[in-house]
């Protein structure tokens, strides 16, 4: 055994560094790989045309639009629910068994496998409420999946607003809700916004929850109402890489690149926002 503790330290740190490289290096390789192979596929036509000939030709426009609709629908349902739920937990909830149960429920919602959300959405929205496989059913399913993300980030944002802000507002005679609305929420806004963007990027990339609730295999037209099916980018990538033979490699990489760019751009915006507001914070 090595006796010298300083040599031991050097070895230990080298091992730790190697482990970190193993985690981070493949990320860079994956990004490089997808950009390298997918770059040539990206053209104005690829982004704005309907797929043709069973997806072997044409573009991915309906999948992009479908993803956009799903993301907007998700936000519409998840944002109010998540933010209000977080306000309840930070500002109103007392430390009792009910609060503990709510917190446990949120942790479990975050841990439920995404495909189980798909089953749940199929059971309740598609079958029980008879929405059919539709934008509405898919958005609701995705919304329930991302609610825990919004709750957690909003709670952190609310917690970071100093108690003194609330005390001053209350001491001036403002009611509890006025205090929350005018003294707490504005200061928590950047954090809430960050959580919202992260939730959206998660919803944009998920496949399993939309498999049976909204995603269409091949649908070269745009939806007319919230009760229509749509194509979506993640499902499209799954379909062209496993279900349809003889799709050009370039098209597959191109689709992966578009999906990756959408998701990573949103994450990038969230990171920049967070850093920006952290620097600006005056307390």
């Amino acid at each position: 055994m090595i006796r010298n503790p300083y040599i031991k330290e050097k070895i230990a740190f080298a091992v730790l560094f190697a482990a970190t490289v193993i985690v981070v290096l493949p990320v860079i390789l994956i990004l490089f790989f997808i950009i390298q192979h997918g770059w040539n596929a990206i053209s104005w036509e690829f982004l704005t045309q309907m797929p043709r000939k069973g997806m072997r030709e044409g573009g991915i426009f309906p999948a992009i639009v479908g993803t956009l609709y799903l993301v907007l629908g998700t936000l519409l349902f998840a944002l109010p629910l998540g933010v209000m739920s977080a306000i309840y937990l930070t500002e109103y909830a007392k430390d009792n068994w009910l609060t503990r149960l709510v917190k446990l429920a949120i942790i479990n919602l975050a841990g439920v496998p995404s495909v189980v959300y798909g089953l749940f959405g199929l059971g309740i929205f598609v079958m029980f409420l008879k929405f059919g496989a539709s934008i509405l059913a898919g958005s609701l399913t995705l919304a329930i999946m991302v609610v825990p993300i919004i709750i957690t980030t909003t709670r952190e944002a609310l917690d970071s607003v100093p108690q003194s802000f609330r005390q001053v507002s209350l001491s001036l005679g403002a009611s509890k809700w006025d205090t929350i609305r005018h003294a707490v929420l504005p200061h928590a806004m950047p954090g809430i916004l960050t959580g919202m963007i992260l939730a959206v990027s998660r919803a944009a990339g998920e496949t399993a929850p939309i498999l049976f609730t909204v995603a269409a295999f091949y649908l070269p037209k745009l939806p007319h109402s919230v009760f229509d099916q749509v194509m979506a980018l993640p499902y499209h990538l799954y379909v062209i890489s496993t279900q349809v033979p003889n799709i050009k490699l370039e098209v597959r990489y191109g689709t992966a690149l578009v999906l990756l760019m959408i998701v990573l751009t949103m994450n990038g915006v969230a990171i920049v926002l967070r850093a920006h507001f952290r620097k600006k914070k005056k307390w």
């Binding site: 730790l16 985690v23 309840y88 919602l109 189980v116 089953l119 749940f120 199929l122 509890k176």
Partner: protein
């Protein structure tokens, strides 16, 4: 006049607070609803076959006649992939969490953290696609096996997907250890590594347990990537270099082709119940580990 406006305002405020209260308890309602709807569809399979035959039956032939709905091969598949991924991801994940939180500093720390966040953000279907393109052919040629679509490929890919969860939660746990613990160790003449190994890591152990549990939960629940690269053969594997089918992949791959209300359909919901219960307990353990530390 003034008094009436006051009460109108009070009324509005009471309404808003009611809404907030209702949103607050929605999470409980949602968890209950998920279980109820899974149970409503899933328990129907037990009218056809026994509970024991479902859990311990060793063949899954849902569309042959007579159909067989034993999920043991699927559980074996999930277990093998999860075990493999855990063995790879836990040591690497904890090691990089320690590096990022205790060794790296300044800009490097920020870059590494962003890299890990980036990894967590990559959609699972994209990782599955990349796995099909790179990892699967590599496994096939390196180990000289007929197909690269194996439990091993799935385990490697899933290890990769579980590390961001493990790293970020373990790092939080390490950061939460009071500085003075480490400073005390250093003041007594220990090296930084001795302080980390003997003081910081034990102090953060319950948080690290939580990180590991949540990482395992992530692996069990992963669907698209495993479905794309593990080969989807629903039989009990003899080795890690054989194709397997996991619980999640079975639901995702077969639900699209089932007739609603058929035994096959009910059986897939019953698999959903099994997954829900497994992840429920994993999350419970993780939560208990965190709260154990708080006391």
């Amino acid at each position: 006049m003034l008094k009436r406006r006051w009460s109108a305002k009070r009324l509005k405020e009471a309404a808003i607070e009611k809404c907030i209260y209702l949103s607050g308890i929605t999470s409980i309602v949602l968890v209950a609803l998920i279980f109820i709807f899974l149970a409503k569809e899933g328990f129907a399979i037990f009218r056809t076959i026994g509970f024991g035959d479902f859990l311990l039956g060793s063949s899954w032939y849902p569309i042959s006649t007579p159909a067989k709905f034993g999920i043991l091969p699927l559980m074996a598949g999930s277990l093998l992939v999860t075990l493999g991924a855990t063995l790879i991801a836990v040591p690497i994940g904890i090691a990089s969490a320690v590096y990022i939180s205790e060794v790296a500093s300044g800009k490097i720390k920020e870059i590494l953290k962003s890299g890990i966040e980036l990894l967590a953000a990559i959609p699972s279907v994209v990782l599955g696609f990349i796995g099909m393109m790179t990892l699967v052919p590599w496994v096939k040629s390196t180990f000289h096996i007929p197909t690269g679509l194996t439990a091993f490929s799935g385990a490697v890919m899933l290890a990769f997907m579980a590390t961001p969860t493990i790293v970020s939660i373990a790092e939080d746990a390490l950061n939460a250890v009071p500085r003075r613990y480490k400073e005390a160790a250093l003041a007594l003449g220990s090296t930084r590594w001795q302080a980390i190994w003997r003081v910081v890591l034990p102090a953060a152990s319950s948080g690290i347990v939580a990180a590991v549990m949540l990482g395992i939960g992530r692996v069990i629940g992963e669907t698209m990537a495993v479905m794309m690269i593990t080969g989807n053969a629903a039989r009990i594997p003899d080795s890690i270099f054989q194709p397997v089918r996991t619980l999640t992949a079975t639901i995702a791959a077969e639900m699209g082709e089932t007739v609603r209300g058929s035994d096959h359909y009910f059986a897939l919901f019953a698999i959903g119940i099994v997954l829900f219960i497994i992840t429920f307990f994993i999350n419970l353990i993780a939560d208990l580990a965190v709260h154990h530390k708080a006391k």
